[in-house]
């Protein structure tokens, strides 16, 4: 698999004027996410299930946060309310001051896998967002090419998704989400299905792109290394009911590289998260045993 990238050269193709125009004058706030007292309850056959309880969270413009937690803690569900796919039962979610009521192109989504349109070529997939925003197909194609270059897949523009490796598909997914110049990028375990080597490469690649883009990123993961390596801040969630139990600042210098993974600072943060998660996982097990 050829997932190694020299992204820096390719960043030059990004339309900086568009990026500026979209984000307004320097210092303009774009991509502020605010989650206030959110409860999410699902009605199931066996009764109501509280997926998220009393969650409050503010993400500053341009901040990269990770939602970290054990299986089934509701972190994806919480992110889906920011995306507009799930309505909170209580509380409210705002992006840039506007209440979220439905999905929209200002919040780009990257899914875990199988989210590319298999009947569209790589280029058509990436051009889809711009096309939906009403620009002509020529313009949409040129935006698509720009973003495919950004993720290093310009050569594959006419390929169909299922001829690409998992890592390449996810890069197309990222390009597609970014092609709308969203103020917030929502990523739901985007690298969860990739092998370890590819995953690390993708993480570095993502940070390179984000450094240029500087939009807000909300990244859901259950992988502690991934959370520490990527984020400015880690929001740790507990399982059933999903609650936010910790908010950890990650003050590691950027740009970050793979060597960081073995540094003492990294280890200390990892230990901190590990203890929190371990405790939560144990609690979850206990509860499962009680109910089961």
């Amino acid at each position: 698999m050829n997932d190694a990238l020299a992204t820096d050269n390719r960043l030059a193709v990004l339309d900086h004027s568009r990026l500026q125009a979209k984000s307004g004058k320097p210092g303009a706030e774009r991509g502020r996410v605010s989650v206030r007292d959110v409860d999410i309850v699902f009605e199931t056959a066996t009764g109501s299930h509280v997926a998220v309880q009393n969650a409050s969270l503010t993400v500053r413009p341009g901040e990269f946060i990770c939602l970290l937690g054990p299986s089934g803690c509701g972190k994806s569900t919480l992110m889906n309310t920011i995306a507009g796919f799930v309505k909170p039962s209580q509380g409210e979610v705002k992006v840039d001051g506007k209440a979220v009521t439905e999905p929209g192109p200002d919040r780009g989504m990257v899914f875990q896998q199988h989210s590319l349109f298999p009947w569209k070529t790589v280029k058509e997939n990436v051009a889809f967002g711009p096309l939906m925003s009403g620009v002509g197909s020529q313009e949409a194609n040129s935006v698509a090419r720009t973003f495919l270059s950004l993720v290093g897949l310009a050569a594959f523009e006419n390929a169909y998704p299922n001829t690409l490796s998992g890592g390449m598909q996810q890069r197309v997914g990222i390009a597609r989400a970014l092609a709308n110049y969203p103020s917030v990028l929502l990523m739901d375990e985007p690298f969860g299905a990739l092998d370890a080597q590819t995953r690390i490469m993708m993480q570095e690649n993502l940070l390179d792109i984000w450094r240029e883009f500087r939009n807000t990123v909300v990244f859901v993961t259950h992988d502690i290394d991934e959370a520490v390596f990527l984020s400015d801040r880690i929001v740790v969630m507990s399982a059933s009911p999903g609650q936010i139990i910790a908010d950890i600042d990650v003050n590691l210098p950027r740009p970050r590289e793979q060597s960081l993974l073995t540094s003492p600072e990294f280890m200390a943060l990892k230990r901190q998260c590990l203890d929190l998660i371990r405790q939560e996982t144990l609690n979850a097990f206990k509860q499962q045993n009680k109910t089961g």
Partner: protein, 312 residues
Amino acid sequence: MDSKSNAAIRTAEPPANATDIAETDEQTAKGSALLTPKTGSSTEAPSRLSGTWLKTMGPRYLVRITALIVAVILWELASQNGFNVYINFDNIPAPSIVGAALVTELTGSEFYLHILHSLERVAIAYVIAVVLGVLLGVAMGRSRWAEDIIMPYIELLRPIPAVAWIPLAILMLPTEQSSIIFITFLGALFPVILNTVHGVEQTSDVLVRAARSLGASRAAILWHVVLPGAMPSIVAGLAIGMGVAWFSLLAGEIISGQYGIGYYTWNSYTLIQYPQIIIGMLTIGGLGTLCTLLVRKGCNPLLKWQAKGGHS
């Protein structure tokens, strides 16, 4: 290992995500689904890799052709020797006699008129069935209301064989031609509807969500996500529908007093022209197969995304 643990997360999470896993399973299941056509590898390959195709498929086609030839030889022997052990070949004309009769038919013009009339009826009936079937199928697949209203009719009417419609078709429709077309149309309609519903209902939830988050409207989702996703199943329905149209046509043409390959076959039976019966039967079989093949070939461009990924 990783994908497993992720799957675990997703199962543990509430409904919104539960569909994600189902979707993955569906995609794998899709390939083997009863009504789904085979992937393009076998249909696309000839033009691209004719050398390899000849090597792998050549011997297989040789076997197929040989199988047919063997059957014809056995039939010839059975007819000429008056084979009569439970199955009686006494009155069955041998292939050589049928062949001679066919040559006579092919030199006249009457035979072609029969074929043309049948082709015309199938074409009209099929086009109406496809348009109506796909529209109804999409409506039913997208709306529970539409499905609840239309499905009972389909369940009730579908098992009724084409022949059973003859009296009503004659009573209700103004002309013989329209009665025949109606019966042919009914045959083609049900497979098209049911396959379209099946395809539309399989729409991947993740893809719909992806489209929505990219700013797609409902109409755009229908056009860019639902229809292309349902296309493999719809195409299978179109192919099956074409086959059924041909065998319903025969029932319909019993009505006809003039032309049509079904009428030709039926009339030959009445007139005790045995070779002509067999010519009629084989013509229906051949035309049905040919039309189905054309439908599949014609729809190939719509499925080329599948063909390319057939092996990954």
